[in-house]
């Protein structure tokens, strides 16, 4: 079973939910893997200590142009969809802008003069830690300055030690890194907050998930006064409200120390257990 925790807006509590659900499953003795796919800013490892089990670099094939063989025909530049090759023909000037390269290999295919060879560029890394006998934490971490975290996210998801249950901590937004994080999930938990921004980004995420034929439910985090607009939207769209997490100072205090509220505050342990129980039933329907 794979559960992704996503939600559009940043800072709504995706990591809070993912780490606490992972914790309650781990405590139940389940074989479970938490995968931190927020590769631009992974921080799930702040909450768990473990021994490193696996490390691999994530590489991208980028072109290197041999100017002694290049005839400056411009075909590689023409094939490149990402403006990653700059060429000034009359100056015999050609340059690859590695940061813009997506590693598609079109330029290499375009070159008839054997002037392009592909070299490895380090774009990220994947680290896996053993947290307990049955629990693993996998982290995708992209390099600073890399344009897209997608390849690093995919590499982290691919480690996949079946039959582990997976909790996927997805990055914010609704673009490619999010899509790749949720694409194989059986259920998506959308964490939002009762603000206009939270609702707006939730709507965008829901529209995206509809196109992907996913099952999903919503957790509203930091609830103080009821937000009717949010609950009306969920009713109208027939989206299950999995939980409302109150605006509780104790959660912030525990979280700020790198703790888990499901471990330290009994009421939240029950709440997260109930969420997992509900999703289990939904998936088995």
């Amino acid at each position: 079973m794979k559960i992704a925790v996503a939600g559009g807006k940043g800072g709504t509590g995706k990591t809070l939910v993912a780490t606490n659900i992972f914790y309650v499953l781990m405590e139940e003795g389940q074989q479970v893997e938490l995968i931190d796919c927020d590769a631009e800013e992974p921080n799930d490892t702040l909450f768990f200590k473990g021994e490193i089990m696996h490390h691999n670099d994530v590489l991208l094939k980028v072109p290197e142009i041999d100017t002694s063989l290049c005839v400056f025909c411009g075909k590689c530049k023409e094939y490149c969809n990402y403006n990653a090759i700059l060429m000034i023909g009359f100056s015999n000037y050609i340059k690859v802008i590695e940061e813009l390269c997506h590693g598609c290999g079109a330029c290499t295919a375009a070159c008839s003069y054997g002037a392009i060879r592909e070299i490895d560029r380090l774009i990220g890394e994947v680290n896996q830690y053993r947290i307990s006998q049955h629990a693993l934490l996998t982290e995708a971490r992209m390099r600073v300055g890399v344009y897209s975290p997608v390849n690093t996210v995919k590499a982290a998801l691919k480690l996949n030690p079946e039959p582990y249950m997976q909790i996927i901590d997805a990055p914010p937004g609704t673009s490619c890194p999010f899509i790749h994080s949720v694409v194989h999930a059986d259920y998506v938990i959308l964490v939002t907050e009762p603000t206009p921004f939270g609702l707006s980004d939730l709507k965008q995420t829901v529209e995206t998930l509809k196109g992907m034929n996913k099952r999903y439910g919503v957790i509203i985090n930091r609830v103080d006064v009821p937000n009717n607009e949010m609950t009306d939207y969920l009713k109208k769209e027939n989206i299950p409200l999995l939980a409302e997490i109150p605006f509780d100072r104790r959660i912030a205090e525990v979280y700020a120390k790198g703790g888990l509220c499901a471990q330290q505050i009994l009421a939240y342990k029950h709440q997260f257990k109930n969420i997992v129980h509900f999703i289990n039933q939904e998936i088995c329907k």
Binding site: Y82, A84, L86, M87, S91, Y93, K95, I97, L100
Partner: protein, 105 residues
């Protein structure tokens, strides 16, 4: 010598566009014959790589100097290697005509 000025419009009274790669127009001023040409920037709305793509256009046009509000991290080493000089003007009110005037001094 040709100088490019990033401009918000296609007149001499337009103001300097603070963005390089995503400016509205490139004004190409030739200091040898005082001619002025306007190139609408086709990279204004592209998703990525607007800076390098704009360098491509200006280098192909034989530009040796560029006046703009700022130059990004990908663009600077490219312009250095092409020996194209960058001139940063932070004044958003500055008109293209005023910049041309200061170039001829």
């Amino acid at each position: 010598m040709k100088v490019a000025i990033t401009s918000t419009g296609n007149t001499l009274e337009s103001t300097l566009d603070q963005r390089f790669g995503r400016c509205s127009f490139f004004v190409i001023y030739d200091t040898d014959n005082q001619s002025v040409a306007y190139i609408p920037n086709p990279n204004k709305e592209i998703s990525e790589g607007a800076g390098p793509a704009s360098v491509q256009i200006l280098a192909e046009n034989g530009v040796h100097k560029i006046v703009s509000g700022d130059f990004g991290l990908k663009v600077k080493p490219l312009l250095d290697s092409l020996k194209i000089q960058m001139i940063v003007v932070k004044d958003v009110q500055k008109k293209v005509s005023e910049i041309i005037q200061s170039l001829s001094h």
